[in-house]
């Protein structure tokens, strides 16, 4: 069957036709042969019967007259007939009167066939060993009296020979018919397969993507020509590729009877249809062409849709990928369907490989287990999950995430999946902590301010009485020294109280326009001498445009001195260099001061805390831990910013002075103040800048 299915269609057709003819020959030849044989035998029997009866009738007279010569002549004449093997005549007693045998009469013959008087003729098949003979016995009757019997033998060999000849002729005839039919079949098959071949080539062209080729012959007449139609807006008008009856919405007179698009019955009486319609292969070719055309249109539409979809997908992908949140979607079997780039990066797997994966493939087992359980719960209950989760990244750093899990439902409301979003809120958490800290500090400040205000008066009394008592006691006495110690420590206390008051802004600020450079240089000159004693050199690099700012000169001076003191405290006993740099950034409306030192620098962990009140790395008694906090407060009051960084960037080139120790990593404090009253992040009004 496989070999047959591989044969060419033309060969199959030929084989089919040949098989039919051969089958007919095989079925009909024996049938026809047998029928012919029996007909021939029947005919032969009739002929033999006729011969015997004729002889019986003719033998009456010679029998009656006992004219044996005439009888002999009669049997001889009969014996001369082609296939007559013998003839003989018996008298009423069965005695053989005359016969055609030479050299005696075969005595067995007499008993071989007996005919009754009432029968016209009796036929008996004889077997002589070498031949078969039909023996015909006819009674010679006259006046209802039997006067003898006529016997004739017809050879069956001759009949057989005739049958063989006939069968051979029939077989030859069938052979000729087979040849003729095969030849005609080949021509027919070629005609059919040629058209099928055209169709196949067309199909191959279609497979290759060429949808413009046609397989059907062009129509014999065009409908608009045949019908003298000038309806240019009819879809069939000037359409040379498609048959008009395949088109919907044509406007010819038959169109009114077209109920459906595929109802072409109404067109069957149209002369255009009758002139253009072909056979089934033609129909197939036309349908094929129409299909190709429709397919082409569909493909065009599909391409447009695909392009549109790709664009949408790309947009969607971009939107999802630029989203810093980790977005992922799983189906009800907990298999990932989609994920964005942030999610992929978080699990360390390319985004393209995520669809099809499970939690257990993407996460450590414990985490995957917990995610899975939670997700299944959401899928089961359909309730949204909205919570914050703390995690640690691979560096051991703490990270906070806002996790939202929403069930995805289809248009019937059935849950088909789960959308999970993990938003990184670590920074928010930090800000939150800072806010709490700030609120705490504010409370502490207010408390300290209140306490300081209350303590200030007793301190003044303590200081006054201590000074008064010193006058009352002898100088250099122990009491005087003790009172001097009380006075000194009370002053320290008063300084602390003053600082506390400043920090809690309970002191009045008096802001006015002032020169930024002068303010800086004033503070520097105040400490310059004292610093030089400790081998600390102050260098300045001031903007020569002398920016003017709006601020409180005293408080700012306090800030500068705080920063300078802070810098000096960073040096060991060998001293170092402090660099002051002011810069005016006119476009941004900012003026900045940078105080850089070559000191020991600040560890990055401490950088965040240095502005906290009471934070100090200095030994007890050397600092209150309020200097930078107070400075922070003052700068904030001036709508400015203050920050610290360590080590010092390379842009600061400290000159190597003699007798100076090698510079440390150093720290740089940067203070930015707006030129105008507006906040730092808003550009200054150009008018005010001038």
């Amino acid at each position: 069957m496989r070999i047959f299915s591989r044969l060419r269609f033309r060969t199959k057709l030929n084989l089919g036709i040949t098989a039919i003819v051969v089958g007919m020959a095989v079925i009909l030849l024996p049938f026809v042969g047998n029928m012919t044989a029996s007909a021939l035998i029947k005919e032969n029997k009739q002929r033999g019967s006729a011969l015997a009866e004729s002889l019986a009738v003719r033998a009456v007279d010679p029998l009656l007259s006992q004219d044996y010569l005439r009888l002999r002549n009669m049997v001889d004449e009969t014996g001369d007939v082609g296939d007559v093997v013998y003839a003989f005549i018996q008298n009423r007693h069965g005695r053989v009167l005359t016969h055609t045998f030479h050299k005696g009469f075969p005595s067995d013959l007499i008993e071989a066939n007996h005919v009754k008087k009432d029968n016209r003729v009796r036929i008996q098949l004889l077997d002589t060993g070498t031949d078969r003979i039909y023996d015909f016995a006819a009674p010679v009757i006259v006046a209802d009296e039997r006067i003898g019997t006529v016997r004739i033998g017809l050879s069956k060999a001759r009949i057989n020979m005739t049958i063989n000849q006939l069968t051979t002729t029939l077989a030859g005839l069938f052979g000729g018919v087979l040849f003729l039919v095969t030849a005609l079949g080949t021509v027919f098959a070629r005609t059919v397969t040629k058209r099928l071949g055209t169709l196949r080539e067309h199909a191959e062209e279609m497979v290759k993507g060429n949808l413009d080729s046609t397989s059907a012959s062009p129509p014999a007449v065009h409908c608009w020509e045949a019908m003298n139609c000038e309806m240019t807006d009819c879809p069939a008008y000037k359409d040379t590729r498609r048959r008009c009856w395949y088109l919907a919405g044509t406007q010819c007179e038959y169109h009114g009877r077209k109920n459906r698009d595929d109802d072409t019955d109404s067109c069957h009486n149209c002369q255009v249809f009758q002139q253009n319609v072909g056979d089934e292969i033609q129909d197939l070719a036309e349908t094929f062409d129409l299909m190709a055309l429709t397919l082409k249109n569909h493909i065009q539409e599909l391409r447009e849709a695909e392009s549109n979809l790709t664009h949408q997908q790309s947009l969607m992908g971009t939107v999802l990928d630029v989203n810093p949140d980790r977005v992922s979607m799983v189906d009800t079997r907990m298999i990932y369907q989609a994920a964005n780039r942030a999610f992929a990066m978080s699990v360390g797997v390319p985004a393209a490989k995520i669809p099809g994966a499970t939690d257990f493939k993407l996460f450590p087992e414990d985490e995957a287990e917990s995610r899975n359980l939670e997700a299944r719960e959401v899928l089961r209950t359909g309730r949204r999950v909205d919570r914050q989760e703390r995690m640690e990244n691979e560096d051991g750093e703490e990270q906070w995430f806002h996790v939202v899990q929403i069930p995805v439902r289809d248009d019937k409301g059935l849950i088909t999946g789960l959308l999970r979003t993990d938003r990184d809120i670590t920074d928010i958490k930090v800000y939150e902590e800072q806010l709490i800290q700030a609120q705490k500090m504010e409370s502490v400040g207010k408390l300290a301010g209140g306490v300081a205000h209350e303590i200030n008066t007793p301190l003044g009394i303590i200081l006054g009485y201590a000074q008064l008592l010193q006058d009352d006691v002898e100088q250099n006495s122990q009491i005087h020294k003790d009172l001097a110690t009380i006075e000194k420590q009370t002053k320290v206390c008063r300084k602390i109280v003053a600082d506390l008051l400043g920090f809690s802004r309970q002191t009045e600020s008096a802001k006015r326009e002032m020169c930024f450079n002068n303010s800086v240089m004033e503070a520097a000159s105040l400490v310059k001498h004292a610093f030089s004693l400790d081998k600390v050199t102050i260098l300045s690099d001031l903007d020569d445009r002398f920016p003017i700012i709006y601020g409180d000169p005293e408080k700012l001076k306090q800030v500068w001195i705080n920063l300078l003191n802070n810098a000096k405290d960073a040096f060991a006993e060998e001293g170092g260099t402090i660099m002051l740099r002011t810069r005016l950034d006119t476009p941004k409306g900012i003026v900045s001061l940078q105080v850089a030192d070559t000191g020991s620098g600040i560890p990055s962990a401490n950088l965040k805390k240095i502005f906290d009140p009471f934070f100090s790395t200095k030994s007890v008694g050397k600092g209150t831990g309020l200097g930078l906090s107070v400075s922070f407060g003052i700068i904030e009051d001036h709508m400015g910013t203050i920050e610290a960084s360590s080590p010092v960037p390379d842009v600061f080139s400290f000159p190597q002075l003699p007798d100076m120790p090698p510079p440390g990593p150093g720290t740089v404090f940067t203070v930015r103040l707006p030129l105008d009253h507006c906040p730092v992040d808003q550009p200054a009004d150009p008018k005010n800048m001038e």
């Binding site: 005696g104 005595s107 098949l125 006259v142």
Partner: protein
């Protein structure tokens, strides 16, 4: 599955066709053709032979006289056997050779047999009831040229046999009376072949092969089934002569002749069975006859030159 079903149907059809095509073979009898025997003619049993002058075919002769012979055999106890000479001449010769004991002949043949020593002992009564019979001259009904006997001159004539009384001798006498001799006819022919001569004349005239024919009266009734008698017209009839006669050959035991004659004379139309025998033989009865009864015939024959020794 479909292929298997198709193959099964095709095979069944083929088998049915083959079965239908097969013919029943005839039963066979085995014969040894090499076993040969010589065929010898049996000597006929001693019998008294009876012959009817072959004016009709042997079959008709047999049919007519079978019952009569059966009757005679039963009545006389004699082994009577009918034999069939082919021609009138042969009949005469067979009588002469003693092969025919009892002859049933026409008067003309009788006068010849009488010359050979045969003696008449019985004669028949014609179906008409008359012991005499006549000859008839027939033409085609549509023949416009022959209206009377005289019109026969120059025409083609077919007669039964030169030895026929009713079919040749009596009409010849009539023609002579009307002035016509043999030489006046364009052609004179006799019916060919053995037996059935009367019928052949009628058929020949009917076929137009001859213009006129001569037959004994009564023949037309016999050939009624063989030809269309409407086409035949009887032109003339001869005078009547004594009819057919039974004669015994010379030397036959007179006692035997007597026994046969008696049995014949006993036959009567009154008896149903005997009437059937007589009717079959084409007679109404058989009566005694003498040789002298046939003198008129002898005279006519002599007059026509057809007497003793002449045909």
């Amino acid at each position: 599955m479909q292929l298997i079903r198709f193959a099964t149907i095709a095979l069944s059809l083929f088998a049915v066709l083959l079965l239908g095509a097969c013919s029943q073979e005839d039963s066979v009898v085995h014969v040894d053709m090499k076993k040969r025997a010589r065929v010898t003619a049996s000597k006929p049993a001693k019998s008294i032979t009876y012959a009817y002058l072959p004016q009709y075919s042997h079959t008709i002769s047999f049919k007519r006289h079978r019952k009569l012979l059966e009757y005679l055999r039963n009545e006389t106890g004699l082994p009577l056997r009918q034999i069939f000479p082919d021609t009138f001449d042969e009949h005469i010769k067979m009588v002469e050779r003693g092969e025919i004991d009892i002859s049933y002949t026409n008067p003309l043949i009788y006068i010849r047999l009488a010359e050979l020593g045969s003696r008449a002992f019985a004669r028949i009564i014609e179906p008409s009831g008359n012991p005499d019979f006549r000859g008839q001259i027939i033409v085609r009904r549509d023949n416009p040229l022959i209206k009377s006997l005289k019109d026969c001159r120059g025409k083609r004539w077919i007669a039964v046999d030169p030895g026929s009384a009713g079919g040749y001798l009596f009409p010849m006498g009539l023609f002579m009376e009307n002035g016509l001799s043999l030489s006046d006819f364009d052609e004179v022919a006799f019916a060919p072949g053995p037996g059935g001569k009367q019928e052949k004349v009628v058929l020949a005239v009917n076929a137009g092969a001859y213009d006129l024919g001569t037959i004994r009266k009564g023949t037309l009734d016999i050939v009624r089934n063989k030809t269309d008698l409407d086409q035949i017209r009887v032109l003339a009839e001869t005078r009547s002569y004594p009819g057919w006669v039974y004669s015994a050959r010379k030397g036959l035991d007179p006692a035997i002749v007597d026994r046969i004659a008696r049995a014949m004379f006993r036959l009567s139309m009154a008896d149903q069975r005997e009437a059937d025998i007589l009717r079959t033989a084409g007679v109404r009865g058989i009566i005694s006859a003498q040789d002298a009864d046939y003198n008129p015939v002898r005279q006519l024959a002599d007059r026509l030159g057809m007497g003793t020794g002449d045909k």
